[in-house]
């Protein structure tokens, strides 16, 4: 019973967040310079009747609240995000749709690698808190955390692509390159540096968080008990410390999703990786607001979903949350 109430609460929160995003997007649409009828008004050859007809067609003759808001929310839910300015009036959904795959590839793999490496590094440094290895590892994590993603990417290109010549500098594939398995290898070679950039940029925060939560767990009574039972260090770490220390990482990984996406957008620009990031920059340069808002909406919904998933996962991992014992 309690578990279901908790679940419903989370679900309600997620829906409320998405509604707020819609509201925000709606307000931005109204603030926007060159909104549909203003663009028409600048053109002296458009007659007053044509203007009025367009306003009626777009629903601009109705009051902003609630009619226009309802129309906007209705259209968005049906998947009508409007039309791109730059791409000759193509639907925003189709412009954005084809860019999702490449972004998902580098962000997904980068995040996975960062989680694995960050957990390993954080556990190791937390376990040897105060020793030399901890100092070096923590300094490394701080440096990685303080670097802008795009700068890290530029450094990696300069070193591994330009100077050493191991990997291509940019793009997603060699133009006119082979297909099949060789094509897949070509794709991976192009993806290697963008993935490495995102992974390296993220490792720092996961490592710092895990270090402090491992170090905190070390002081707990159950660790002392485990020690007293004569368990080996490795057993204590795996069986007693990590299950508890990993919990905040789940939340951070989800909470950070929005932040990661922001960083990943700039990584794509550095590597000319044809995903949402490059699309964002293009749209920004041509002031293609419908596309920008579509991207914002898509990313927001994904991030809200990620957080909902993390909440569910958290409640699986930590029964106290589910039963309302701890907040």
């Amino acid at each position: 019973m309690r578990a279901r109430r908790w679940l419903l609460g989370r679900l309600g929160g997620a829906i409320a967040t998405i509604l707020m995003v819609l509201l925000l997007n709606f307000v931005l649409f109204r603030l926007m310079p060159g909104s549909p009828d203003r663009a028409l008004a600048r053109n002296p050859r458009v007659s007053a009747e044509a203007m009025q007809a367009a306003r009626v067609r777009w629903g601009l003759d109705k009051p902003i609240f609630p009619d226009q808001l309802i129309a906007y929310v209705g259209a968005t839910i049906k998947g009508d995000f409007g039309y791109s300015v730059k791409y000759g009036g193509r639907e925003v959904t189709s412009v954005i749709g084809e860019k999702i795959g490449p972004t998902l590839l580098i962000v997904g793999l980068g995040e996975l690698i960062a989680l694995a490496a960050g957990i390993a590094l954080g556990t190791w440094t937390g376990w040897r808190r105060g020793r030399f290895g901890d100092r070096v590892g923590t300094l490394g994590a701080l440096i990685l955390y303080s670097m802008p993603y795009f700068w890290l990417g530029m450094l990696l290109i300069t070193l591994f692509a330009t100077t050493l010549g191991w990997l291509p500098t940019s793009g997603i594939s060699t133009p006119g390159g082979p297909g099949g398995i060789e094509g897949a290898i070509d794709l991976l070679r192009h993806a290697a540096l963008p993935i490495a950039t995102i992974a390296l940029g993220l490792i720092g925060q996961y490592a710092i968080l895990l270090r402090s939560s491992v170090a905190e767990s070390l002081r707990e009574g159950y660790v002392l008990t485990a020690r007293a039972k004569g368990l080996r260090d490795e057993r204590i770490l795996r069986g007693h410390i990590l299950p508890n220390a990993l919990l905040p990482t789940v939340t951070l990984a989800a909470l950070n999703a929005g932040f990661v996406i922001g960083g990943a957008l700039t990584v794509e620009i550095v590597f000319s990786w044809p995903g949402l990031g490059l699309l964002t920059q293009e749209a920004l340069q041509s002031r293609d607001y419908p596309v920008l808002q579509g991207i914002f909406l898509l990313l927001s919904v994904s991030v809200v979903m990620a957080n909902l998933l993390a909440d569910l996962l958290y409640s699986r991992l930590d029964p106290r949350v589910r039963h309302g014992a701890a907040r």
Binding site: G13, A16, M147, G262, L284, L292
Partner: protein, 313 residues
Amino acid sequence: MSASASVNLSTRIRRRVSGGNRIMLLLLHRWDARIALMILSLLTLSGVAPEILVGPLQTATTATAAALLPPSGTHLFGTDDLGRDLLNLTVHGARISLVVGALSAAITLVIGGGIGMIAGYRGGRTDALLMRVADTFLILPTFVLALILAPILRELIGDQTEIFGIRTTLLTIVAVIGFTSWSSTARIVRSQTLSLRERTFVERARLVGLSPMRIIARHIFPNIRTVLVANGIVVIAGSILTESTLSFIGLGDPFQPSWGTILGNAQSAAAPSLGAWWFITAPGCAILLTVAACTIVGNAIDELLDRDVRVRR
């Protein structure tokens, strides 16, 4: 100085000096914070007086050197694709990056602190609503929101004027960062306010009949000031990172280049694939050092505050 002497000194400081000054003095007794503060003062110095250090800002017309020269005796950090000296650009960039970072942080703290104090003090429905909004901003890809908001705001107010010597293009960035990054400050301030609200001196002020606004201003705010400073330093680091990213993407001001703008220029000039490592080294290291130093100082203050609370108990 030996370890025991330093411990003695810090206990003496703890006893005699009070409040924010004590935190500052204790801070100077940690070697990592000392290095970080040194870096920050150096950067602030170059931000305050770039003209004295490297002369006026070089532009495409005043640049004298050849393009993309590697570092040498005359150009310590090399030159960019227009022949501008990178030392000159980076030192001048310090002013823009630090001022935009500090102003954005100030706005973030005002919004976050205000919302946090009101939510924490009022409680109930106000609290629930405000925290719902804060959570939304915490989760959302606010950076993407900033990307959309900046050009809209710019077209609304126009970008030809200057206010206090800062161009409005940069002020829109300040406003946008402030508007999108206040939520974690609000959360921290709220939880502090919640515990302060139950303390006797606040209750007494309520009994005497002070209005909520007065209680917040006179009794709550002074007690969260140190927490706000610690958070503020971390917020500055975040703002500088966000500013550099926005400028990198091309939302900066070409006439007042920040470190991010220089890196954006390097990207359009294809510096990484030309092997012009010096083009990205100086501005990038400046960002890295500033953000790392701010993070170290912020964490150190946090730790000292934690210990302070424990000692008093």
